[in-house]
């Protein structure tokens, strides 16, 4: 198993610094995600590992070996391309066997390994089809097999599921995770889909403008975002602007809608700082709920329901607070007929569900 290290890597594409002083360490065997909005440099970072780009500054290491100047074909990485990049003039078998041919493996070994790779992705019966005879999902799995079969040091996946329909995408998430568990190789996975990253990753690096904004496990990123950007990008959140007034046992934030009691906050913050209270939609609870355990510390707000969207398992509310701020709330298993557009409801927020973040971190 192989570790991957970026050391202050910069890559300039055209006029912009696509990757800007990126430093990252990916542990051996990890399923590591590069997550960020489009154009943030995550794909560039992946292509730097594959060797399609060479860094303008900094170095890239695989297992402490500097790879920065090694051409792509000598790197032993296996890449799954966003559009699969299956060669239309070769059948599935030859597509998958290609990397082994380049490595001059003996015929029996080639046969055995291609067969095994196709089995891993459940495509063994399609070996003699041409790529254009396969569906998108099948092509995707062949592309995966082609990358797996060479037993690469690192498997690189560039938005591999983005061309699949929603249902297949969710199926493939589980399959890729399972394959990763079985083969135990280091994988770097690029995506802009935060749900994909949260559900699959061992660790995630959130990338923005070519830099790492935050690294952590999915749980860390979701529950302890270090910036308003991450809070908003991962899972979505409500940001109430205010001023930090008290940093005692409880933190108190003065917002337009009133004083908010919160449990914790970014350590560097001090009294008087302009901050956001980040409140996840599912933490904003409508008072119609029968059982809200309140120890007297909870925050209470009044909101007018502006719209309700029904999703089967949940309802999403858009609520206008007293000062005009619009917030989003999610309620699971709401009994029917308890709320209506236009009605005013009480909202309850547990202080422990509020994360206080510096205001200038939204655009950091």
């Amino acid at each position: 198993m192989v570790s991957v290290k970026f050391e202050r890597v910069t890559k300039i594409l055209g006029e912009s610094r696509a990757v800007d002083g990126l430093t990252l360490e990916i542990k051996p065997g990890e399923l590591f995600f590069l997550l960020g909005p489009s154009g943030c440099g995550k794909t560039t970072a992946l292509r730097l590992v594959a060797g399609f780009y060479t860094p303008d500054e900094g170095k890239i290491f695989l297992n402490e070996r500097d790879q920065s100047r090694i051409p792509p074909h000598k790197r032993n990485t296996g890449m799954v391309f966003q559009n699969y990049a299956l060669w239309p003039h070769m059948d599935i078998w030859n597509n998958v066997a290609y990397g082994l041919k380049m490595r001059r493996l003996s015929e029996p070994e080639k046969k055995q390994r291609v067969g095994r790779a196709l089995e891993t992705v459940q495509m063994e019966t399609y070996a003699h089809r041409m790529p254009n005879q396969l569906s998108g999902g099948q092509q995707q799995r062949v592309a995966l097999a082609r990358a797996l079969v060479i037993e690469p040091d690192v498997i690189l996946l560039d938005e591999p599921l983005s061309n699949l329909d929603a249902k297949l995408r969710i199926e493939m998430r589980a399959q890729i995770k399972e394959i990763h568990r079985k083969i135990g190789r280091t994988m770097i996975y690029v995506t802009h889909d935060q749900a994909e990253a949260l559900s699959m990753a061992d660790r995630i690096a959130v990338i923005r403008r070519g830099r790492v904004v935050q690294i952590g496990t999915p749980r860390q990123l979701y529950s302890c975002p270090e910036s308003a950007f991450v809070a908003d990008f991962i899972g979505g959140t409500n940001l109430l602007a205010g001023t930090l007034e008290e940093c005692g046992d409880w933190w108190m934030v003065r917002t337009e809608t009133g004083l908010m009691r919160t449990a914790n906050g970014e350590k560097k913050l001090a009294r008087g700082d302009r901050v956001f209270c980040s409140i996840r939609p599912e933490s904003l609870r409508l008072q119609t709920e029968a059982s809200i355990s309140d120890d007297g510390n909870g925050n209470r707000l009044i909101g007018e329901i502006q719209s309700i969207m029904y999703f089967g398992d949940r309802e999403e509310y858009s609520l206008r607070l007293a000062d005009g701020t619009v917030v989003r709330a999610v309620q699971y298993n709401q009994p029917p007929g308890t709320t209506a557009v236009g009605s005013r409801v009480k909202l309850h927020i547990d202080p422990r569900d509020i994360v206080v973040l510096p205001q200038d971190s939204l655009d950091a």
């Binding site: 594959a50 060797g51 399609f52 303008d56 051409p71 792509p72 074909h73 000598k74 790197r75 032993n76 990485t77 296996g78 890449m79 391309f81 966003q82 559009n83 990049a85 299956l86 060669w87 239309p88 003039h89 290609y98 990397g99 380049m102 490595r103 082609r146 990358a147 060479i150």
Partner: protein, 564 residues
């Protein structure tokens, strides 16, 4: 130096190729042009626009200039009017036998107008078949002067030859118009001609101008057709006649420069009119096909229109065919005696045999050169960041805008009294001329291939351990193969029937290519025109075979090759 290399990913191999390309363009494209320009404006070392003054003041020269421009404009206009309705019928309606009809429309393209002129002369002459037919039927009692002293004949032939090019461009342009923007216009209440005028046609404009420019330049500078009709009052014929005595009469330079300036002007105007790149189609949603099934009566009308037009367009071909097999055709509607002997004459006579050999040799060489140049340039443009990218692109495409006449003239002028003098041997210059003239087709074909071949396919191979060279050999070339074949076939067959370069550059009979041999035969009395027609038929067969082959490889995108 390092930062320069970093900005452009250039290795020593790439740098070498670039240098080679630049040398070629400098010697065979830029130098002759600069030479022509400087000779046109500098008289005995000092600047003098004397010849231009002469050209724009002398009435005989201004008439000639006006004739040529008129020819170009009329042909462009008429082909537009012919092709627009065709385009709408064939692109927008679905009916049985559509592919066949489209094929039929393209047929006139395969007959070089200069060969068609031979047949046309036979049919439309004062006592040609048409007049005789009408006289016999009693519809007229005086023969009609169809050819209008020659100019009308030239116009008719150019129109019949060039409307397929216009059609190809318009069809591509129309197919490119997202049906949903038309639907949006309908939704806002536009319909019929209003819809066409306000939405559809404006969106087709870039494609239209691309075709219009080619049609204009081809007709504006065509040399072969007026020569056959013996119509002298056109710029092209004047230039042809002036090539031989450039030293005594530098008027030719002024003419050539005027032609260049005019084509550039038209290019500029058309680019300005469409605002640079034209309208890129913004994000396409679900494109619902705009194809409607045609009703029976409409289908029949479409057939009538296309078949009628094709019948007219085929008249010159029929004339050529009849001439090539008639041993007696004098003051009768149809020949009175037939024989295939003129076809065997081709293989018996030195002039024809040598010319066929010459053409095969020259075209093969120039095609090889084109493959090398075209693939290299396309590769550099599509896959590498090289300095002067845009200039390289423009240089390779420039010959589309540059009439063959101008190129040939420039070669003769610039390389006289050098080791490349065409009077010694025209072979190097002919090869270069053919290659430069057809380079845009090869370049486009290869470039399209590179573009369709997603770069990820190459990256995937490298990622799995294939070296760059192996990747090109195993992945890129096999995927590009169809495009390369199609491009090469077109280059080869067009070179075989290249007119102005061959007429101007080949001076001795032993160097004549096919087209010059045909021209020489036409001037021979007796059986000359018959053998010339037989040669023309051979050329026609060759070109139609290759176009068919090319369209197999290119499919619907064949039209992309015929646009500027």
């Amino acid at each position: 130096m390092r930062s320069w290399m970093k900005r452009y990913d250039i290795g020593p191999a790439t740098a070498g190729l670039l240098a080679l390309l630049w040398c070629f363009f400098l010697v065979f494209l830029l130098y002759p042009l600069v030479f022509v320009f400087s000779n046109a404006f500098f008289l005995g070392g000092s600047f003098s626009p004397l010849y231009f003054k002469l050209m724009f003041t002398s009435p005989s020269y201004t008439t000639i200039l006006a004739n040529s421009i008129n020819l170009g404009l009329v042909v462009t206009l008429v082909t537009t009017l012919l092709s627009l309705p065709l385009t709408f019928l064939l692109v927008r309606y679905e009916f049985p036998g559509k592919v066949l009809l489209i094929g039929l429309i393209l047929i006139p393209l395969v007959l070089p107008p200069f060969v068609g002129a031979i047949g046309m002369r036979q049919l439309l002459a004062r006592f040609g078949s048409i007049n005789l037919l009408l006289l016999e039927a009693g519809l007229i009692d005086q023969p009609i002067d169809w050819l209008g002293g020659g100019l009308a004949g030239v116009i008719i032939l150019e129109v019949l030859h060039l409307y397929p090019i216009m059609y190809l461009n318009l069809a591509a342009a129309l197919a490119n118009v997202d049906p949903s923007v038309e639907e949006a216009a309908r939704n806002m209440g536009a319909s019929g001609f209003q819809l066409f005028r306000t939405v559809t046609f404006p969106l087709m404009l870039p494609g239209y101008f691309a075709g219009a420019i080619i049609v204009f330049i081809w007709s504006f500078t065509d040399l072969g057709t007026p020569l056959v009709f013996e119509y002298r009052d056109l710029i092209s014929v004047q230039i042809f006649n002036m090539v031989t005595d450039l030293h005594q009469n530098p008027m030719g330079y002024a003419f050539v420069v005027t032609v260049i300036m005019l084509t550039l002007l038209f290019f500029y105007v058309s680019k300005r009119l469409i605002g640079g790149n034209g309208y890129a189609m913004l994000g396409r949603g679900n494109v619902v096909s705009a194809m409607r099934p045609a009703s029976l009566s409409l289908t029949l009308s479409i057939y009538a229109v296309v078949l009628g037009l094709s019948a007219i367009a085929l008249v010159p071909h029929v004339g050529v065919l009849l001439t090539s097999i008639s041993t007696r055709w004098f003051l009768t509607v149809l020949p009175t005696a037939y024989s295939a002997k003129f076809y065997s004459e081709i293989f018996a006579q030195d002039l024809t045999m040598v010319s066929i050999k010459n053409s095969l040799f020259l075209s093969s060489l120039s095609t090889v050169l084109d493959i090398f140049l075209g693939v290299t340039i396309a590769y550099l443009l599509a896959r590498k960041r090289v300095p002067g990218r845009n200039i390289l692109d423009s240089l390779a495409m420039l010959p589309l805008a540059l009439p063959g006449l101008v190129m040939a003239f420039g070669y003769v002028a610039a390389f006289s009294a050098t080791p490349l003098d065409p009077r010694i041997t025209p072979v190097p210059l002919l090869v270069a001329a053919y290659a430069v003239r057809r380079l845009p087709y090869m370049m486009r074909a290869a470039y399209a291939g590179f573009q369709q071949t997603n770069i990820a396919l190459e990256e995937a191979a490298m990622n799995l351990g294939a070296s760059p060279l192996k990747t090109i050999y195993q992945i890129t070339f096999p995927l590009l193969f169809a495009n390369l074949v199609a491009g090469a076939v077109l280059c080869f067959s067009f070179s075989m029937l290249e007119v102005s370069d061959s007429l101007i550059l080949a001076l001795k009979e032993q160097h004549y290519p096919i087209t010059k041999a045909i021209w020489a035969l036409l001037k021979r009395i007796a059986d000359g025109p018959n053998i010339a027609s037989a040669m023309g038929m051979l050329g026609l067969t060759l070109l139609s075979g290759s176009l068919f082959l090319a369209s197999r490889f290119f499919g619907r995108r064949l039209g992309e090759l015929f646009r500027a």
